[in-house]
């Protein structure tokens, strides 16, 4: 008998010791409990009796009495958000589920061996009652060609109380230059997925022609992909992609990029709005040269991130500053009109806050709020309201709610 048969027989033999009989369904406290806290309580009561007259205040307390427990929600923001972290020497890659209001850690899940989490996007209108759904861009490991690494986008579901999470299937799998896939975005229903990466195709020369096989595209060239109805289409991004977001109807994709410098033109930061049916049909929502920015208190603040608002009606711009010192974060908003914005048009920041590192911006899926990650601090921005969620002392690779 092999080890599997012996194990199966032993397990079923042990299970057979438990009789199949009706057991009452409990409705209150459990029946038996190990009295592990009895000694602690006894010691506390004795200490209180002995020391009470010396240490207890004899007047009424001046301490404020809380009127009610704090709300777990801020504005219309979801109660929880998810932060993902890459692998370190000490720790595997992981995602953490935290309270939006307090930053309290609800759950931690580590990636499997050799895997790591890269980027996350929320699916607010997936139609699942009481469940928060996400897509998780995950690095799987070595690809099929030298220089290629395999990535996939998994589904993830989290219960309303953040106490239970489960994995969904893999929606799209691709190969890319290691470390380049980023900026995962999806529509509110989760039926379209976009991400940026660099291709890892192998050059093949046949006669006078050359082409790339295996991983998509020319190695080192920034690309972005749009996945819909089981098909993935890939385009040249024309520069490093810094952020991606869909319009609510999924018809447009906003891309914030650092456009490559070309002959006679310096590198620029641009926010483009592309029709997903035809990315060549593009509107430039805003454009700055690398050196320009807004002026506040006599100092120049440069745009470091931008995107369209969740309702698709506004452009949201995040500025660092002043003068690139990276010590303050300013957020400005502008309605999307017929014409794009240029750096010459003045923008007045509605939020101004000290930061300690790179800034991530995530849309609230169904409200006007933004989730901002500035270094190790998570910030909530809803209109003029500003709430600082306690520092979690480690900068996440991505966040979503």
């Amino acid at each position: 008998m092999n080890v599997e048969d012996r194990l199966k027989a032993a397990l079923h033999g042990t299970a057979g010791l438990v009789e199949d009989r009706p057991r009452p369904l409990p409705t209150a406290a459990r029946r038996r409990r190990i009295p592990r806290f009895v000694p602690v309580w006894a010691a506390l009561i004795v200490a209180l009796v002995m020391l009470g007259p010396f240490v207890l205040p004899d007047g009424e307390s001046n301490a404020p009495i809380p009127m009610s427990s704090p709300s777990l929600a801020i504005g219309s923001a979801p109660e929880i958000y998810v932060a993902i972290y890459g692998a370190t020497k000490e720790r595997k890659s992981r995602f953490e589920i935290r309270s939006t209001a307090t930053g309290e850690l609800r759950q931690v899940n580590e990636a499997g061996n050799g895997e790591s989490f890269v980027s996350i996007a929320a699916i607010p209108d997936d139609g699942k009652e009481g469940i928060s759904s996400f897509y998780l861009l995950t690095r799987l490991g070595a690809g099929t060609l030298p220089g290629c690494t395999k990535y996939t986008v998994y589904g993830l579901q989290i219960s309303a109380d953040a106490g239970f999470s489960s994995w969904g299937g893999s929606t799209v799998t691709f190969e890319a230059v290691d470390g380049t896939p980023a900026n995962l975005a999806t529509t509110p229903k989760g039926d379209e997925i976009a991400y940026s990466f660099e291709g890892c195709g192998r050059k093949v020369i046949e006669g006078d022609t050359e082409r790339y096989v295996g991983g998509v595209g020319v190695p080192g060239v920034p690309l972005f992909a749009h996945h819909w109805a089981g098909a993935t289409t890939t385009w040249n991004a024309g520069g490093k992609v810094l952020n991606l977001a869909y319009s609510p109807d999924g018809h447009s994709l906003a891309m914030f990029r650092l456009r490559d410098a070309e002959a006679g033109r310096e590198a620029q930061r641009e926010l483009l709005l592309m029709r997903t049916a035809n990315p060549d049909d593009t509107t430039t929502l805003l454009r700055w040269t690398e050196e320009s920015g807004i002026r506040k208190d006599g100092a120049v603040r440069r745009p470091i991130n931008a995107m369209i608002s969740p309702d698709g009606k506004k452009v949201v711009v995040v500025f660092s500053g002043p003068d690139g010192s990276g010590t303050r974060l300013s957020v400005a908003e502008r309605p999307i009109g017929g014409k794009g914005l240029s750096f010459r048009e003045p923008l007045t920041p509605v939020v101004d806050h000290p930061v300690d590192g790179p800034v991530l911006v995530k849309q609230h899926p169904s409200g006007p709020e933004l989730l901002l990650q500035a270094g190790a601090t998570t910030l909530f921005h809803g209109g003029k309201i500003k709430a600082v969620i306690p520092s979690i002392e480690e900068t996440p690779a991505d966040i979503a709610w």
Partner: protein, 165 residues
């Protein structure tokens, strides 16, 4: 949909309680503690149930909760052992009066010398007959991790049994 207040919960409990107690028994070693673990889970389910759309997902959720309960019991036992208190010996121990064959005892003892995750993966596969995906959902790990853990666990168990014989 089944929630804590749902009238479907008692029927769900009746249908699955024996299986869940048996699953807990594999990990904690005695029926009374296994019953406590399962009942604790259902008490919590009454008070604060997750909203899950179908019974299979609820079963996976409850299985997960039972495994968590078993882990808590085992942690508590370590503490109790430190304070020299007694608890029911596991069914596979030499002191137990349970009617379990010697080979089964030997296999169960070897199983309990394995790391926790390996032990749980083996129980969920070879007792509960769950596929990789369901084991992954229950233990909140990736299916690929289930497969690698299973392979390592079987090799380790084989070594343990070889060393014991």
């Amino acid at each position: 949909m089944i929630t804590g207040a749902s009238p479907a919960l008692p029927a769900f409990y009746r249908e699955h309680q024996t299986g869940l107690v048996r699953l807990a028994m594999m990990l904690v070693g005695d029926e009374a503690t296994a019953e406590d673990v399962v009942q604790d889970v259902f008490v919590r389910l009454h008070r604060n149930a997750p909203v899950l759309r179908d019974e299979q997902k609820l079963l996976a959720y409850v299985r997960s909760a039972v495994l968590n309960g078993c882990r808590s019991v085992l942690r508590r036992r370590k503490l109790i052992r430190r304070h020299a208190e007694r608890y029911e010996p596991p069914a596979w121990s030499a002191e137990s009066q349970a009617m379990l064959g010697e080979d089964h005892r030997e296999v169960m003892r070897a199983l309990h010398r394995l790391p926790r995750r390996q032990r749980e993966v083996l129980v969920l596969r070879f007792y509960a007959d769950l596929p990789d995906e369901e084991i992954a959902t229950t233990l909140r790990i990736r299916p690929s991790t289930v497969r690698s853990t299973m392979s390592r666990a079987l090799s380790a168990l084989e070594r343990e049994l070889g060393d014991a014989s």
